[in-house]
Symmetry: C2
Subunit: 87 residues, 2 copies
């Protein structure tokens, strides 16, 4: 399935989350990832995230679509991608 | 149509963008909005955003789906909503 994952985390946990998500998905904006992933791999990602996130302040939202083609994407402005030397 | 809108803006423009998006969509996370919107209203939103955003650093990504039910949403952690007294 195709997912969009967005997170909002305390400053201290942002880099950890970024590195974790990069192992599974493609980075497209500050705290936004997208990509094809299986249910099993997504559960793996989320269970790792739950180990360090603080549920009272942090959040992760996942939008799941069975097919990528059901979602049209429009980008305005600066397009980031994983080739950027961000870290 | 149903859209997810995520933005990444310089600190000085964040509040302006938040206020703009709130006029059209529902706030669900830090810089993430979702909701039903027409093509015309979305164009209106984006043309207003383009008036103050800096394309070399800022970005707005919109995912469009014809039907909300084609997207499944999962939230982990703290669920924000527009009733929060954020501003």
């Amino acid at each position: 399935m195709y997912v969009i994952l967005v997170y909002d985390m305390g400053e201290k946990r942002v880099v950890k989350m970024l590195k974790l998500c990069r192992q599974y998905l493609n980075w497209i904006q500050n705290s936004v990832f997208e990509g094809e992933i299986t249910e099993v791999k997504l559960k793996e990602l989320l269970s790792q995230a739950k180990m360090f996130m603080r549920p009272e302040t942090d959040s992760v939202i996942i939008f799941k679509s069975r097919e990528e083609r059901w979602l049209e994407k429009e980008i305005i402005g600066n397009e980031k991608n994983d080739l950027d030397t961000f870290l």
